[in-house]
Every structure is written in structure tokens, then in C-alpha cells.
């Protein structure tokens, strides 16, 4: 299997043995290891990427894979309802993968921000229909995942004011539109790296 220019030429079906699981080759997404061999678990094309001195073997079809939220994954959610103790959200995407069916999660009052956790007023942090970025703390109970927005990179990304105008962040706790200023727990989203010509 060549890694330079011959990538993506091998089409495989689930259960197809790809290569030996040596110290150089490790199983990436869409594959599993069994009996010291790497097998494919998706139908797609085999792509080998180099990570340091390791070669990661993964199977993809160009489309997004199927992932569910797990502890530590960054998720994009829409706020459904806000209570004084918690906010219920609907998880839309896990990382870059959009979920086929949204699942439910909660952000508790203690997990909204890092400082002064007792004095949090939920209605000044989130409003229904906001889009937030959060990190999954745990699988939670049968209904909801446990999420947290404590941190500079987590919080409200997109929101609309009460009259429907889009809000633009102006500080860590405020967003404004052309008619009013509203309070939110704002996420500091880093802009994508742009190459300087």
C-alpha cells in the first residue's frame, strides 16, 4: 500500500482485512483491530496518513462518519429551554460531524462558567434558540448528556435578539444588535487560520 500518491485507490467493504497491525501502522477511524490485523468496519476508500512516524490507516467515503457524543468531545447545540437551574439543549453536531437525529443534553448552573458559579443567572447566559458550543462532561442519565460551557472557547456563538435581529458579540458577557444590547455567556471562537499572501 503506497502512501505518497496512491491514496484512496483501494475500495473496501466491512470485514476486509487491510494490513498487519504493526508498531508503524495503527487503526484510525472506520477500522478495528483483531488478531494483530487491521480490518475495515465501513464501506469506503482506504486512506493512509502519516502522523509523525506512525501511519494511520482509516476508511472513509468522504462523507462524515457516525459518531455519538462521548466525554471530552466538543459539541454544537441549540438551546431548547432555560430554567433557573439548568438549560436544556439539543445536540446537533459532534465536532465536524452532523448528527442524523439530534440528542438531548443539559448545561447545569454550576457548569456555565468558571468563576462565581453560584451567582449565575441562567437567563442572562442563554436564551432559547441560541446556538452554543459546549464540551461533554459525561454521558449523564438516560435522557440527557451532561455538558459544560466553562471556558473561554465555550458558550453562545449565534443568537438573535428579542426582535429577531442577529446579535454580534461585544464582550465576554454582552452581545449587541442594531436595536439593543443583550447579555449572554459568549464563546470566543478563534477565526480559521488564513494564509497571508
Amino acid at each position: 500500500m503506497t502512501t505518497k500518491s496512491g491514496n484512496g485507490h483501494i475500495t473496501c467493504v466491512p470485514g476486509q482485512r487491510l494490513c498487519e497491525a504493526t508498531s508503524n501502522h495503527i487503526a484510525g477511524e472506520g477500522t478495528y483491530t483483531f488478531n494483530k490485523y487491521i480490518y475495515s468496519s465501513l464501506a469506503g476508500q482506504v486512506i493512509v496518513t502519516t502522523k509523525g512516524d506512525l501511519q494511520v490507516v482509516k476508511v472513509t467515503l468522504g462523507r462524515q462518519g457516525t459518531v455519538m457524543p462521548e466525554a471530552g468531545s466538543v459539541v454544537t447545540c441549540r438551546v431548547l429551554e432555560v430554567n433557573p437551574n439548568q438549560a436544556r439543549v439539543s445536540i446537533l453536531c459532534v465536532g465536524p460531524n452532523k448528527l442524523h437525529t439530534p440528542v438531548l443534553g443539559t448545561v447545569r448552573k454550576l457548569n456555565v462558567r468558571e468563576h462565581q458559579v453560584d451567582l449565575v443567572e441562567m437567563y442572562n447566559c442563554f436564551r432559547p434558540d441560541d446556538i452554543i458550543i459546549a464540551i461533554v462532561l459525561s454521558l449523564g442519565d438516560i435522557r440527557n448528556y451532561e455538558l459544560s460551557t466553562a471556558g473561554p472557547g465555550y458558550g453562545v456563538v449565534t443568537a438573535y435578539c428579542e426582535d429577531g435581529h442577529p446579535l454580534v458579540p461585544t464582550s465576554w458577557t454582552t452581545m449587541r444588535c442594531k436595536c439593543r444590547t443583550e447579555k449572554r455567556k459568549v464563546a470566543r471562537v478563534m477565526p480559521p487560520k488564513m494564509s497571508i499572501v
Partner: protein, 224 residues
């Protein structure tokens, strides 16, 4: 008293009653009561969602003579001209249900099966918390799939098929990858010309592949 409406006369065919001209006033009270009771008894057993043909009608094949046929004829071939080891022609297609995560359509000879896979999604109410994925499988036979019209309600054979397919899929899907979720597999048998269970399993395997759900291997069904 003459019943002018034809629908009332249809409901009243099995209710034996005679109406005397002299007791018309009693009839005015009694007849509606009897009619209502017969209607209620009928409604309990009648399927109101579908247009069923007239009662006591059966397909003509029930009255045909039954001919005893063995598996292989005199020339050692099956009834449709195949030898004992020849498989039937197969047609497969994926992506036919746009709302489903993955779907497939499979034809084995005349047996036609269609499958849709949804998930992984939130577990439905009433189920326990499990760190592995749960598979929910339902097979439905269309009423026109067999020669004699089949009741849309699942019977024992269909429930057994659903259970077997669920167990087969549970052994193939990488369940640890989707904690606290469930995968729904819905299979519809459009025409049953034999080998429906193996066709359903193959269709489910195809739909799982198209749905990009991690599986240990490509599952197919065959009858030996």
C-alpha cells in the same frame, strides 16, 4: 317499517328481528338500539383504517385442487427450471429512502424486500441505560405480499423473524461505539416468494453499510 338507507340494511343483515305494523312505536325505540349494538359489535372486530372487500370473500386459489409436487421434478430440476444448486437472480439497490440514514432494496427472484436504518439516536423511553448500543428491528409483511391476503398485524412468524434479525445484527454492529443509543431497523417485505428471512438479513446488512454505521463484517443471509 322500511329501512330506506342501504347502509343500515347492510349492518342489520345478521340481526334477526321482525317488525309488526301494529307495534310501530315500540319498533321506533327498539330497532335503533339493536342496530347500535350490532354496529358496536362490528366496530370492535372491523379494521376501520382500510377498505376491506365484502365479508365472506376468499381468493379463488383456496378452492383450486392442490397438486402434490416434489422438490425436484422428473428431470432433476426445480419447478422454475433451475437445478438444485442454482441460486435465483439478485437485484440490489441502496439509498432509496431519503429520510433514513441508510436504506436498501433487494430482490431475490420474486421475493422483494426493502429496509431502512435509522440512528444511532436517543434511546426510547422505558429502556435501561446501557453502555452499548441497542438494536430495535421490526419486520412488516405487506398485506399483498402473499397469495392469501395477510393481516397487517404481526403474527408469530413475523415476530420470530424480527427477533432473529435483531440478534444477527447485534452480533455484527460495533455496539461499544454508540453508548446510550439505539439503532432502528425497519424491514418491509413487499413480495414473499420464499426465502424472506435471508433476504431481510441481506437487506439489513446493505442498509447498515450505506448508513456508515461501523460493523465488524458485511452480513448476508442464505438458506441452505
Amino acid at each position: 317499517m322500511r329501512c330506506s338507507s342501504s347502509s343500515i340494511s347492510y349492518f342489520a343483515t345478521n340481526v334477526p328481528y321482525t317488525v309488526d305494523r301494529t307495534h310501530e312505536s315500540w319498533a321506533l325505540v327498539l330497532v335503533p338500539l339493536i342496530l347500535m349494538s350490532s354496529i358496536l359489535i362490528r366496530m370492535a372486530s372491523r379494521d376501520l383504517r382500510r377498505i376491506i372487500g365484502p365479508e365472506k370473500c376468499m381468493p379463488y386459489t383456496v378452492f383450486q385442487e392442490k397438486v402434490e409436487m416434489s422438490f425436484l421434478g422428473h428431470d432433476g430440476m426445480r419447478r422454475d427450471g433451475r437445478s438444485a444448486i442454482d441460486p435465483r437472480q439478485v437485484f440490489m439497490s441502496v439509498g432509496i429512502i431519503s429520510q433514513a440514514k441508510g436504506s436498501s432494496y433487494l430482490e431475490v427472484g420474486n421475493t422483494k424486500v426493502c429496509c431502512g436504518v435509522y440512528g444511532p439516536k436517543d434511546i426510547q423511553r422505558g429502556s435501561d441505560f446501557k453502555m452499548t448500543c441497542q438494536v430495535f428491528c421490526e419486520v412488516k409483511m405487506a398485506p399483498f405480499s402473499c397469495i392469501v391476503r395477510k393481516n397487517p398485524q404481526p403474527d408469530k412468524r413475523v415476530k420470530e423473524m424480527s427477533r432473529q434479525i435483531k440478534e444477527a445484527l447485534e452480533s455484527v454492529i460495533v455496539l461499544e461505539k454508540f453508548p446510550k443509543s439505539q439503532i432502528d431497523v425497519f424491514i418491509t417485505v413487499i413480495e414473499d416468494d420464499g426465502g424472506a428471512l435471508s433476504a431481510c438479513i441481506t437487506a439489513a446488512g446493505l442498509a447498515l453499510c450505506q448508513a456508515n454505521i461501523d460493523v465488524y463484517d458485511f452480513i448476508i443471509g442464505a438458506s441452505v
